[in-house]
């Protein structure tokens, strides 16, 4: 590796890191409690599932004898909301009897105006609702878009790309720096700067793959809105071509959800629905209930297939798998959230996040507390593995 190459990669590492570090620190700090959102939500839930019926069936079941109908569940959810509010989503917990219903003032209401309620299909009761003023909601909004909507999401996506560039350039610089040093070295007897340089390199090296996967999947997640719009403009438009030019179906003409679900299940035997998107939202057309079915294996259960049901008449009009970019988004979610391998994986996720915070913090310290401000000085430090620094 030539001196010029080191200098180029050093400048890439320096500037990509400087620009993204503050935002990455915010994302790590807000992401830490979000890893355990299920556990925290369970602790703060106001209601409870009916224990007698809990193991009997799952939230989307059509056959469980004691379950309330989907139409009845929707009516229950709407009674708690102001008059005129409309349903947007109905989602099912396919491990328990729980389900959620999201409502809003209009069919195309933005996320900030939506209300999400959890209900138990066994008892028919509301067992909780999302509190938009709660700490977890504030953390989620900060982590997702910094309360700036789509521009905020795309900005954080750009920070994620800079983070990936910082990782790549860091790996390139690792080679000349470690040429004469053993792996994992932390020179505790040297100056504080060298010690933190070693912490930065060691922790950055071991968290490399995890940070790259979480960073890259985070970038894909920030593209959720453009991806949904692209799906709507292409595949969904093709599936609903026969409805083109018609006005939006008013909510008072929405037909039975149970009838629509029965038709969808008949068209997709053996699959469990994950959620229903109501007409007019970002996941459906203006005339359809879109029932999204999970695949039947652990891997494919994250890859969704949409069945479009005419919302007025309850008939299946089209079935189509999500396109590759939709599937990429679906697979990127668990890989970013770390919520797919039980509590031990979540604990490891939290430890790796903490290690990443140390890498980011030590990088900031090394930049702010630099002794030699010149690029040539940093290049010499990298070439020698900081072995020329005086002992403390």
């Amino acid at each position: 590796v030539t001196r010029r190459t080191i200098q180029t990669w050093f400048l890439v590492h320096k500037w990509t890191s400087i620009v993204c570090t503050a935002f990455l620190l915010m994302l790590c700090v807000t992401g830490l409690p979000l890893i355990f959102h299920d556990e925290i939500d369970a602790l703060t839930a106001t209601g409870a599932l009916d224990p007698a019926l809990r193991p009997a069936a799952i939230g989307s079941s059509q056959e469980a004898p004691h379950f309330r109908s989907l139409d009845a569940m929707l009516a229950t959810a709407l009674t708690t909301r102001p008059p005129g509010e409309v349903p947007l989503f109905m989602a099912f917990d396919n491990d328990r009897t729980a389900m959620t219903i999201t409502t809003g003032p209009t069919p195309d209401a933005p996320g900030s105006e939506m209300t999400l309620q959890s209900l138990d299909r066994a008892s028919g009761r509301v067992i909780g609702s999302e509190d938009e003023s709660g700490v977890m909601h504030v953390l989620l909004q900060l982590h997702t878009d910094m309360f700036l909507g789509l521009p905020g999401m795309l900005f954080l996506g750009a920070m994620g790309l800079l983070f990936i560039a910082a990782i790549v350039s860091g790996v390139v610089l690792y080679l000349p720096f470690m040429r004469k040093l053993p792996f994992g070295i932390v020179r505790a007897s040297r100056s504080r700067r060298v010690r933190w340089l070693d912490y930065h390199n060691m922790l950055g090296a071991v968290t490399l793959a995890w940070a790259a996967v979480v960073g890259l999947t985070g970038v894909i997640n920030t593209l959720a809105t453009p991806i949904n719009r692209m799906w709507q403009a292409n595949e969904l438009a093709e599936m609903t071509r026969a409805y083109a030019g018609r006005g939006a179906l008013p909510p008072e003409r929405y037909g039975s959800i149970d009838k629509a679900m029965t038709a969808a299940r008949r068209a997709m035997p053996g699959f469990n629905p994950q959620f229903i998107a109501f007409p007019g939202g970002s996941f459906s057309s203006k005339h359809h209930y879109a029932v999204f079915f999970q695949g039947s294996t652990p891997l494919t259960e994250r890859l969704l297939t949409a069945a479009l049901i005419d919302a007025e008449h309850g008939t299946v009009t089209a079935i189509g798998r999500m396109p590759w970019y939709g599937q990429a988004l679906a697979l990127s979610r668990p890989l970013h959230f770390g919520d797919y391998g039980g509590l031990p994986l979540k604990i490891l996720w939290a430890l790796l996040t903490t290690m990443t915070i140390v890498v980011l913090g030590s990088g900031l310290y090394l930049w702010l507390g630099r002794r030699s401000p010149s690029t040539a000085g940093h290049v010499r430090e990298i070439e020698t593995g900081a072995t020329m620094e005086p002992a403390e």
């Binding site: 053993p182 922790l203 995890w210 039980g342």
Partner: protein
């Protein structure tokens, strides 16, 4: 702490620990996606490799 090596190491020697750690982590991340139970049991130690290596390095620092 072992003495600092003065001899230049090959690129593979420098990168091998990173490659093995990254492969273990990636294996763990993706095997957990494909199922529960035994696959989770494989995933936890694999994703735990970077944490284990960091603990080893920090412990060695004090020796």
């Amino acid at each position: 702490m072992s003495a600092v090596r003065r001899r230049r190491q090959s690129s593979w020697t420098v990168f091998a620990p990173l490659v093995w750690t990254a492969l273990a982590t990636s294996f763990g991340l993706f095997i957990a996606l494909t199922g529960d139970g035994a696959r989770d049991l494989l995933a936890w130690p694999a994703v735990g490799v970077p944490v284990g290596v960091a603990v080893w390095a920090l412990h060695r620092r004090r020796c």
